[in-house]
């Protein structure tokens, strides 16, 4: 049975592997302050802290902070997907309200705030624009003893997410454009399915390498 704890462990490894794959050749270890082995307690990212405050305390001031941070960026994401400004704002409103209403489902051991919000925004985008429910994976079964946030796991995942973001910012502009197009851009269906000339071509091998590593890590876990 797939459990929350299990997915948490896998996810931490997966983000770490993705991060390593993404920046392989850029020598992450030589980057000052990005010591992957550093496990000293650090505060959670600001965005995750705001979202936890919304989840646990229904704090409207924290929600307003989330709004100020994400609404202008979500609008940018939706404009890139081809929406008009007014339409984009309607979706942003629905996304922000979904964040408020579904906050109890946010599990910081499985996702950083940005990853969780990215997924919610994509779900709402499909539901509202295509007028159909986005096909979603089944929820994992949560064992009762796992209902409490595992502090160490939460911190580890948050730090890896933060390092991923730092690595993204350090990418060369042309590499960054490729990544942005993959996660934000509006590509035609044929572009996605084409086996050659795929816009992701330049990062594909790196990510695959990272995932190979992940598969080894998973085997070690068993």
């Amino acid at each position: 049975m797939l459990t929350q704890e299990c997915i948490s462990n896998v996810l931490t490894l997966s983000v770490a592997a993705l991060l390593q794959g993404r920046v392989s050749g850029m020598n992450l270890a030589s980057y000052k302050g990005a010591d992957v082995t550093d496990r000293l307690p650090r505060p959670l990212s600001q965005q995750t802290t705001w979202l936890l405050d919304v989840r646990d305390n229904r704090n409207r001031a924290a929600f307003a902070q989330l709004f100020d941070f994400y609404a202008p960026r979500l609008k940018g994401m939706l404009l890139r997907a081809g929406l008009q400004s007014g339409q984009a704002e309607d979706v942003v409103q629905e996304v922000m309200l979904a964040i408020w209403r579904k906050a109890d489902q946010f599990d910081p051991a499985r996702a950083q705030a940005s990853a969780w919000i990215y997924r919610i925004a994509r779900n709402r985008q499909i539901d509202m624009i295509r007028l159909e429910n986005r096909p979603l994976p089944d929820e994992l079964v949560a064992a009762e003893e796992e209902s409490i946030d595992d502090a160490a796991q939460v911190l580890a995942l948050d730090q890896e997410g933060t390092q991923l973001r730092a690595a993204l910012i350090r990418l060369a502009p042309e590499q960054r454009t490729v990544i942005e197009q993959a996660y934000m851009g509006e590509l035609s269906h044929s572009e996605i399915t084409a086996q050659t000339g795929l816009p992701l071509g330049t990062i594909k091998s790196r990510i695959r390498l990272a995932l190979d590593r992940l598969r080894h890590d998973l085997r070690d876990l068993r």
């Binding site: 983000v15 965005q47 960026r73 997924r119 993204l168």
Partner: protein, 212 residues
Amino acid sequence: MTEITHHLPENLIIAYAACRLGHAFSVAVAAHVSLCMECRARLAAHEHAGGAVLEALPKETVSHELKLRTMAELSAPARVGLPPPEHAGIYPGAVMAALKGRPPRWRALGAGIRQCILTEDLEGSLRLLHIPPAQGVPDHGHGGLELTLVLQGSFSDETGRFGAGDIQVATEDMAHSPIAGGGMPCVCLAATDAPLNFRGWLPRMLQPIFRI
């Protein structure tokens, strides 16, 4: 539960995370992720990358009213929609949703093979296939890409053996002649990005009648 050995390629996971897939492929991806821990973790990792890109985006100007409107809505009762269909038997929730919560209505294709078309439009098609044990499937033409997810039993072809939870990614130029494994009937979910091509599915003698 047998170990899943055939996974989703990276580009499909990223395209699903970024909502760049059509409905049929999205159902196939969501259904595989429901069964596969590894691809679930990889999807989550890509959602982190998506979230990181989102955070790094330049801020667009949003209207002042948007924030007022949103904050004012916080106290409003949430619109309660129907919960999405849940996993039932061998069918993950995403497949149950495509079945509209009902059991499949099978139609005979010949040679004991049955199919149930879930969706079919210009974007592609989605169907379930039910193949008796050890039955070979006629080589079938499909324009473009075809994803086949095994939900029960297994099949084998020139590229390997596919058991429950495994997903096969077949390109247009890939000729294959799958044969269902022994034991249980093989039930598959097949998604294509082109309209269905029935040519290979009809017994040859019937083809002149249907003028195909």
